[in-house]
């Protein structure tokens, strides 16, 4: 099977702390892959290594057949490896439409143009409007990003990523901080992506993971514990140990069907 993204023995060590240790993961083209694990397991570190925010202590990252370990973040993005952020990092003083038009201009190489007005760049503008309509952000096109409700901002995060026409899309908790009704909306958008887009998403909500992921990778203490179909993962006693062992006092929800029994507070 051809792989969209592959890591080989990826490590990130800070002194004695092994944030990521020998993580080797393969994402076939078109995969809908979830990355789960307790807080501090190194999930975001892993995404940061993939995207070039951090340089690995050891190991390599391949996009298709190309070794991209040494490329800068914006170069990886231009090759189709795109991410969203766990906490919104948007352009507060730009409108929604401006943000997406800019992203499209960056992708198409128009962003260095200085002699033509943005409003006259008809193709990027039309594409941006299409994309915003698809994400139901059309009515908010001319809203300043800072005035956008938080849930809409999460969608804009995804819109910016989609504007890059990703081959591989990394979503770091795309639905964090928004109500369950809206998080379903976010994941419906993700599920409706074209089949050739490969998706790896970090998510704490196991309902969402089991609904939208074809495969699940479990990261614990910086190591890849196991990887398999949602059914296999749910049945894996080691995974249950990890989660049940740390569920108390954590914001994370346990596996579907167990929450009422284990977390009495959530009934209300």
């Amino acid at each position: 099977m051809t792989e969209a993204l592959r890591t080989e023995g990826l490590c990130k060590h800070w002194g004695g702390l092994r944030a990521n240790d020998q993580v080797s993961l393969r994402l076939p083209v078109g995969a809908r892959h979830a990355l789960i694990g307790p807080n501090g397991a190194g999930k975001t570190t892993f995404v940061n290594l993939l995207t070039g925010v951090l340089a690995p202590s050891a190991g390599r990252v391949f996009l298709g057949d190309t070794d991209i370990t040494r490329l800068a973040m914006h170069q990886r993005v231009r090759r189709g490896l795109v991410r969203t952020f766990q906490i919104n990092t948007l352009f507060a003083g730009l409108t929604v439409l401006e943000s997406v038009v800019l992203a499209i201009c960056e992708r198409t190489g128009l962003a260095g143009t200085w002699h033509r007005a943005v409003a006259r760049c008809t193709e990027p503008v039309a594409e941006a409007k299409d994309l915003l309509d698809r994400l139901r952000l059309g009515p908010a096109a001319n809203t300043l990003t800072r005035n956008l409700p938080y849930g809409r901002q999460r969608l804009l995060e995804i819109a910016l990523a989609l504007a890059m026409r990703p081959r591989v899309l990394l979503l770091d908790e795309p639905a964090s901080g928004i109500p369950a009704s809206e998080s379903t909306e976010v994941f419906e958008v993700i599920a409706a992506l074209p089949g050739d887009v490969t998706v790896l998403f970090i998510e704490h909500d196991m309902d969402l993971v089991f609904r939208f992921a074809q495969r699940v990778a479990v990261l614990v203490d910086g190591r890849l514990l196991t990887e398999g179909t949602p059914g296999e993962i749910a049945a894996d006693p080691r995974v249950r140990d990890v989660y049940l062992g740390e569920v108390t006092g954590e914001a994370e929800r346990p596996f579907p069907g167990e929450e009422k029994r284990d977390a009495p507070g959530s009934a209300r």
Binding site: G52, L90, L94, C105, G112, T113, A117, V118
Partner: protein
């Protein structure tokens, strides 16, 4: 209306007309004050170059006078050594300042605000002291005199009343305004604003932030150099203080007073600053900066967006009460 409301279309609007009617009215109404008028226009062009850098791209500078002064000395030295044609001298000054901007941009754009301030400040001090030391070339603290210019376009002599100087400055500043207006409305301009709003997000949409900042730093330096050259050619003298820290600070103050990131702010700030300087200093030369300081604190605390920001706030309030 344009095809895409909400996006910059770079069109001419009524405030543009108002802005450029003022200097034309000035020419007719106060023909005795054209020298002050030229100075304001030149300073406004200088401030505009900083607005492109700071107001749009968010790069702060405490040494922008370095490029202004470099342009001023380039034009002056060319004239002293026999090259008296104004337009080519102006262009040469712009190129020299832009090249200096390009060379130093790599030091500036990587850092955060504080290191940008310190590095630009350092570059300014270095150039000032270099010009001071090289007095055999620059005239040092005595300045560079014996500058005379050919007729502008071979027709207009630089007269004592300053009519040619005024028209020349106005025309060059207008060209600079059109250029900057075009740049900020473009995708490149949009990417500069995005860098200001969230530079850390830019690599995630594939944007080469460093390259964009190098480009804008170079353009801003070139424009500042052209403003400096205008001052030299219209006053036929270069004082060492063209490179001084006070000028770098003043241009920052003018921009803050007028409002950043809106083009007009540069003109309003320059006119306000120099008008106040002229009026207040006439009454009490030692004291005028007291009022300047007071106004600066008030404007920045109240409006944040300078005079223009204040106007906008009032307009918003009127609209809300109207509803």
């Amino acid at each position: 209306m344009s095809a895409s409301p909400g996006l910059s279309d770079g069109r001419w609007r009524w405030p543009d007309t108002v802005l450029w009617l003022v200097p034309l009215i000035w020419y007719v109404a106060w023909p005795d004050h054209l020298l002050l008028g030229s100075q304001v226009i030149i300073t406004a062009l200088f401030t505009l170059s900083l607005d492109l850098l700071l107001g749009y791209a968010g790069v702060v500078s405490l040494g922008h006078a370095a490029f202004f002064g470099l342009g001023a000395y380039t034009a002056g030295l060319l004239a002293v050594h026999g090259w008296r044609e104004p337009l080519t001298g102006l262009a040469a000054a712009g190129v020299v300042a832009a090249l200096a901007g390009l060379a130093t941009s790599f030091l500036v754009v990587r850092g955060k605000a504080l290191s940008q301030l310190m590095i630009t400040l350092g570059i300014g001090i270095l150039l000032y002291e270099a010009a001071n030391k090289a007095s055999s070339v620059t005239g040092g603290v005595d300045g560079l005199s014996d500058i005379s210019m050919d007729r502008l376009l071979g027709v207009f002599r630089f007269d004592l009343a300053g009519k040619t100087a005024y028209g020349y400055s106005l025309a060059v500043a207008f060209a600079g305004f059109l250029l900057v207006k075009r740049i900020v409305a473009s995708p490149f301009g949009l990417s500069l604003r995005a860098i200001r709003e969230g530079a850390q997000r830019m690599p995630a949409i594939g944007a080469p932030v460093g390259r964009r900042l190098v480009a804008v730093f170079t353009i801003a330096a070139g424009l500042a150099g052209i403003a400096g050259a205008l001052l030299t050619q219209t006053t036929q003298f270069v004082a060492l203080e063209v490179l001084g820290f006070e000028r770098s600070a003043a241009v920052l103050i003018m921009l803050a007073l007028g409002g950043t990131g809106q083009l007009y702010g540069a003109f309003i700030g320059a006119a306000l600053f120099m008008g106040m300087q002229d009026l207040l200093a006439r009454q009490n030369p030692a004291y005028w900066q007291f009022w300047l300081g007071l106004m600066l604190v008030a404007v920045v605390l109240r409006g944040r967006g300078g005079v223009l920001g204040g106007v906008e706030a009032v307009r918003d309030r009127l609209r809300r009460t109207a509803r």
